[in-house]
């Protein structure tokens, strides 16, 4: 019973049903009254006809009941009609002997009565009339009674259309109301869908216009809540950036000290230790730089750093030149494929570079010596610009392909020198560059192919392209 729609419907329908029932009851009473009035009139007319036929014959009072007096009652209901004419001395002039006196024990009034006769409920009319003849006065009491079938039938006939009408009204109201509710609750459903279908990190306020007034406070509250979460997230991101920043000066100090120590080192063993220290120091430096790079990509706001016109192939070429020494030291054959064409787009320069750099750097680091890493850039007319990085490394199992974009997740590799942030940076930078990144198996099922597609429209999901 937690559906707003059902509850609203009940709140309208229950009072409405009560009101309609009351109205029906009143109209039933009206129908009864009308039917009674009709019936009473017939009783009255019949009594008067009978009374009119009472007369003196040879000094005696006679009553003859003409057929017409009873014909007035004729109907389809086959009601039983009883009558009696009795003098004040108790002489029965006509009709049923035991009818007279019922419902009128005092025997003085005239009027309508409800009586029971032979176990039947009857409506009776009683009247008295005085008859005079040569100084003699006799009072005759005329009683005419009738079973209630026709009356009830009439009452129902009168009431029935009301019942139909009002029930119809109730059904009509119900249907209209359900339609109305459905229509009016649409904004609520729409709001639900909007909130439900949002991207995980999308905390933009929900638009207030087009919303019914009653929903606005709710949406306002949701928006405020979102803002609060956004502030928390911002603070956390700032913390990472600040922390990485604060690490830089001590890192420089450490580097300087190590360098100085290396210039003084005497024994070969000390030299070895210092060079190992220096290597560790470089790994930490790389991690700090990657953290900053990730933080930058994460904090990217289009309104802060405008995208600029760039050529993906130029960026790719620069990255190749930059990474050539690393590739050479690992005996990786680094290069481009036949498809390597100019591809202009607008993107934030540092992030596009970070995107390509981390992909190629990753490919070089995870490919065993003697392998190949190949870049291609395609700009087909009317389609998305596409950058492919293909390596001959171990590849990534399909079930791990979405997880490798998580921070510090290195897929199935365990003892590599990478920081574990490369693909996380790629994911964030791709978002900022409106690109979609997908992983596939390399040619002939070996190695890894990373596909980056640059769209003109923002693309919410990541890693869905490859199957």
């Amino acid at each position: 019973m937690n559906s707003l729609r059902v509850r609203l419907a009940l709140w309208v329908l229950l009072p409405l049903a009560v009101a309609l029932s009351l109205s029906l009851w009143f109209s039933y009473q009206d129908s009864l009254r009308n039917a009674r009035r009709q019936q009473d009139h017939v009783l009255w007319a019949s009594a008067h006809i009978i009374a009119g036929q009472i007369g003196w014959i040879n000094g005696r009072l006679y009553a003859s009941v003409p057929p017409v007096a009873l014909e007035v009652f004729s109907s389809d209901s086959h009601d039983a009609v009883y009558f009696s004419v009795v003098t004040d001395s108790g002489q029965l002039l006509a009709g049923w002997p035991d009818l007279s006196g019922r419902g009128d024990p005092a025997g003085d009034g005239s009027g309508y009565r409800d009586i029971v006769f032979h176990d039947q409920k009857l409506r009776a009319y009683i009247m008295s009339r005085d008859f005079f003849n040569s100084g003699k006065s006799v009072q005759a009491r005329i009683t005419i009674a009738k079973t209630q079938r026709e009356f009830l039938h009439d009452a129902h006939t009168l009431w029935w259309p009301n019942l139909i009408r009002q029930s119809g009204l109730l059904v009509l109201v119900l249907v209209l109301m359900l339609l109305g509710l459905r229509h009016e609750l649409k904004p609520l459903a729409k709001l639900k869908d909007e909130v439900l279908n949002r991207e995980r990190a999308d905390l933009h306020p929900i638009r207030l216009q087009d919303l019914p007034m009653e929903l606005r406070p709710v949406v306002d509250t949701i928006n405020q809540y979102g803002q609060r979460i956004q502030r928390h997230i911002d603070a956390r991101k700032r913390f990472i950036e600040d922390a990485a920043h604060q690490l830089r000066t001590p890192m420089t100090l450490l580097s300087t000290q190590l360098h100085y120590a290396a210039s003084l080192a005497g024994t070969p063993e000390l030299k070895k230790i210092l060079s190992a220290l220096s290597e560790s120091r470089q790994q930490i430096t790389a991690l700090v730089n990657q953290l900053l790079s990730l933080s930058q990509a994460e904090n990217y706001r289009p309104e802060q750093a405008a995208a600029q016109p760039l050529d993906v192939s130029d960026v790719a070429r620069d990255v190749l030149v930059e990474l050539a020494p690393l590739a050479a030291s690992r005996r990786i054959d680094l290069g481009i494929s036949d498809t390597f064409e100019p591809a202009r787009l607008r993107a934030p320069a540092t992030l596009l570079r970070a995107l390509v750099f981390n992909l190629v750097d990753n490919a070089i680091r995870y490919t065993p010596p003697g392998g190949r890493v190949t870049l291609s850039v395609a700009a087909p007319a009317g389609a998305a610009i596409r950058l492919d990085v293909v390596d001959t490394g171990p590849g990534i199992a399909p079930e791990l392909r979405t997880r490798v974009f998580e921070r510090f997740n290195r897929g199935n590799a365990t003892n590599q020198e990478g920081t574990g942030l490369g693909l996380a940076i790629v994911a964030e930078a791709a978002k900022a560059c409106r690109a979609r990144v997908a992983l596939e198996s390399g040619p002939a099922g070996a190695g890894l192919r990373v596909i980056v597609e640059f769209h003109l429209q923002p693309v919410p999901q990541l890693g869905r392209l490859g199957a």
């Binding site: 450490l254 580097s255 900053l292 494929s337």
Partner: protein, 224 residues
């Protein structure tokens, strides 16, 4: 050569100056903008190493004041921030170069030397890649100070690669540099010369790297 190091972290300042002294630079250390301004208006330095984050007045203010006096002393900015805006700001304000912490010592000294060289304009023009140095006046190569003599074709090849550092050179453009326009030689010949020069560079910090599809590139060796 005399340097002014403006760095608020005293320990870093101490070790940097030790190291720079070892490299042959006479280094004065100050830790705030105020003192830096005083020294810069009175003394003459060959170069200034300037940290941007200083107590009270910022490094930018020192730079601005220096340039307002039309003092052309080369300034190398050292900073913990690698935001693009910051870089652009500094260069526009008159900094000559920019290095983000943490930097490699070799890179720092190389950049200082390059700055001073560029600024003095009198020293013989040198091109260098790691410890491979080329004197464009005498047209002499040297590795770590030791002269390296090469036959004509190999010399032209290495010269072309060295003068185009940071870029790849295709076989055809190398052919033009080595054989001139009247090239009757085949592209295979280039491979042979590259192979020979590579062997002669084995002991140096520079190496010729091939990028498949793009060409050759002279670059410092990767150091782990």
């Amino acid at each position: 050569m005399r340097l002014l190091l403006v760095e608020d972290n005293q320990e870093l300042s101490l070790w940097l100056s030790k190291l720079l002294q070892k490299e042959g630079f006479q280094t004065d250390c100050v830790h705030d903008a105020e003192t830096a301004n005083v020294l810069l208006s009175g003394e003459r330095y060959d170069a200034v190493l300037l940290d941007l984050k200083l107590p009270q007045a910022s490094g930018q203010s020192v730079l601005r004041r220096l340039r307002r006096r039309d003092d052309p002393t080369p300034v190398l900015v050292l900073t913990a921030s690698d935001s693009l805006d910051m870089k652009v700001d500094c260069l526009e304000m008159g900094a000559d170069d920019y290095l983000v912490k943490p930097f490699e010592m070799r890179e720092l000294t190389a950049r200082i030397k390059a700055l001073i060289r560029r600024h003095s304009g009198t020293a013989s023009p040198l091109a260098a890649c790691a410890d491979l140095v080329y004197n464009t006046n005498t047209r002499q190569f040297s590795i770590d100070g030791a002269p390296l003599s090469l036959p004509l074709r190999e010399h032209s090849l290495l010269e072309a690669l060295l003068m185009n550092q940071g870029k790849t050179m295709s076989k055809s453009s190398l052919m033009q540099s080595v054989f001139g326009l009247d090239g009757e030689a085949s592209e295979d010949a280039i491979e042979i010369y590259v192979h020979r020069v590579r062997r002669k560079l084995e002991e140096s910090g520079a190496s010729i790297v091939t990028l498949r599809g793009l060409g050759y590139l002279l670059t410092p060796r990767h150091t782990p």
